[in-house]
Amino acid sequence: MDESFLSQMLVYLAAAVIVVPVFKRLGLGSVLGFLVAGVVIGPWGLKLISDVGAILHFAEIGVALLLFLVGLELDPRRLWSMRKPVFGLGGAQIAVTILAAVGIAHWLGQSITVGIVAGMGFAMSSTAIVLATLAEKNLMPAPAGQASFAVLLAQDLAVIPLLMVLALLAPGATGADFDFLAAGKAIGVIAGVIFVGHTLLRPVLRYMANTRLREIFIAFSLLLVLGTATLVHWVGLSMALGTFLAGVVLADSEYRHELELDIEPFKGLLLGLFFIAVGMSVDIGLFASAPHIVVGLALGVVALKIVLLLPLARLFGVSARDAILFALLLSQAGEFAFVVFGAAGTQNILPRETVDLLTAVVTASMLTTPLILFAYERLIAPWLARGPERAADRIEEHHPVIVAGFGRFGQIVTRLLQGRGVAATIIDHDPNQIELVRRFGWKAYYGDISRLDLLEKAGAAEAKLLIIAVDDPDAARATVKLARSRFPNLAVLARARDRTDAFEYAELGVPAIRETFGSAVEAGERALHILGVGAHAARRFAMWFRRHDEEELVLLAAHRHDQKKLIERTQKARDDLEQLLRDEEGRVRRGGEGGWD
């Protein structure tokens, strides 16, 4: 470990901690922060780091670790259920992009070979950028996130066949050059990873865990991931695909959480380093000499990818709203393009200048994604939410109860009412949710309940009760106020998400049910019972608690803006509760000693 290594580390860490928090603050996301940090310290910026290629290569381990973690979250069953979007949507995306690239290359007077190579490179999106963004914005479980992930997976799977096609394009290559040995080795290694993961790994993990040395377990986790990455890399597969597979194999093992915890910090740092390295590799010189070409091509690639992704997603059943986000997420070219273009260069398929230009275009397109998503969040998302792409449904019948928000909470309430023969008009503003519950036979309507016209259409004038169970607290309160002022005869029952929310409703004078309160009290009651308190006594303690807490909530609501008083009052409430439950306990004991036996 020489001094230059240490000073390089210093530079990376300093650049990251200075730039990233600022970008995060500005709402631009950490990915762009790392990229910009890279540009700043790179050969075209402050020239603090020179050997960019080596760093980029090393930091790819971050992407491999990321995919390992993603794999851990996906057991084989869930992976299998994704086969349609992976092979259908993902396969179609790659094929269509290559075809389009060939067409455009031809139109620009380039050879078909250039078109094919460029198409293969540009078809690939950046797994690192997209997954990091999905994780940062919590979009992984959303439909757009799921579809994006499926396509990324397809792209990773396509690496081998695409590299083989590339070999065929090399000047002087014939069909005989198709490397069957390499294909066989690749398949063998994949089978090996799965087999070893299933049979050998668990006992070894148990053995490592039994050493009770955390460092050893961490070291083994890293060895496992890096070993897999090296192995698959050796047969020409993408490291990310290999570690992803290793993750999937271990997804249902008992060491999943342990592995996640241990790998997570390494992943974060190395992924950051990867983005920094990408930033450093931006060839500002090329930018400066032909800015219009680089920027124009980059924007062209991004625009082309969006234009192709949108209809494909719609074709595969993604809703229009989700398809927009999906197309924007995958609109950049990714790290795999470096590999494709690099290989095309060394195999003399493309001239050096073209490779440099295409590489610069890829990097530039990667810079656009955080900015596009920033714009999406500020401009497109609010517009989508406001101007509903889908007009509110026509509501055909009126019922005595209107349930706004048909998620976990609204469904239970409605089922109870329905069981007693009380019909409810159900309204939700999530089209996917509507479609889902309709399949289960519920008659639910699409619309934004905080709008007066929809409230009217739902029959608020004749209904007796409005139950508010929508997720967005602001929309919920707006609806409460609207209903109060316009339909004074309509009773309102609100679902409060937490204590703060409950305070708000207490202030509005609207009865509110705290979402998790009832179940938490029930859990407390069960806990007492398990600890040996009689069922009836436990129920009474729970009921005391419930009554006391509800009363206290009203009192606390008055002080909620005065933190000092709030803390005082909360402490007193805690003491009161203890006194109360001691009294109840004493009541029981006295009953036993002085009264009944």
């Binding site: 069922a535 436990a538 004991r589 009953g591 009944w596």
Partner: protein
């Protein structure tokens, strides 16, 4: 007499963990042949009784036992709630209400007072069987044969030895009933012998 009578003991104690006597009595019969102990407060901590389930259990047994401490000269409130909800018109009484007819009814109660309180002129003014008349009449009205109550006095002040002896007697009584050796029927009805 038919042998092997099945006995359903409805155990009602709101705070079973502070009880000594009733707990010991219950412990003595829990594994007795033909006996099902059904803890009402444990099953229905909120007094919300599953009527159909209770009726099914009654149909599966020949003898109904109420075991509870005397509270305010009567049973703990869940016993009353049980009667009010389970003994339905058309099931336990009234037209077609013959499901309990011919079954036996026994009450096993404990009192906190001395035996001398439960006499005319004593602190309680009435005897225990007199205080239990609403239950006796309930059983009669449903066509059940009423057996003499099994009373444990002084429940709070008995020493462990006395409690164990009483628990043994309770077990012996239920064993005998199970074998079909029933005590003579019993009543406090004025003018009836």
């Amino acid at each position: 007499m038919t042998a092997d009578l099945r006995i359903l003991v409805l155990y009602a104690h709101p705070n079973p963990d502070v009880s000594r006597t009733n707990r010991a009595l219950r412990g003595a019969i829990e594994d007795a042949p033909g006996v099902t102990v059904h803890d009402l407060y444990e099953c229905y901590p909120d007094l919300f009784i599953d009527v159909r389930r209770e009726q099914r259990m009654l149909l599966e047994h020949d003898v109904l036992v109420f075991q509870h401490p005397m509270q305010w000269y009567s049973a703990p409130s869940i016993v009353k709630e049980w009667e009010d909800s389970v003994l339905e018109n058309g099931w336990a009484y009234g037209e077609g209400g013959d499901k309990l007819r011919g079954k036996y009814f026994l009450q096993a109660v404990s009192t906190g007072g001395h035996p001398e309180s439960y006499v005319h002129g004593g602190k309680a003014h009435f005897t225990v069987p007199e205080l239990l008349r609403p239950f006796e009449q309930m059983a009669h009205y449903c066509g059940m044969v009423v057996l003499p109550p099994f009373v444990t006095n002084d429940a709070r002040d008995l020493d462990d030895h006395a409690i164990a002896a009483q628990a043994g007697r309770y077990r012996a009584l239920l064993d005998a009933i199970h074998r079909g050796e029933l005590p003579a029927p019993f009543h406090t009805i004025p003018g009836k012998d």
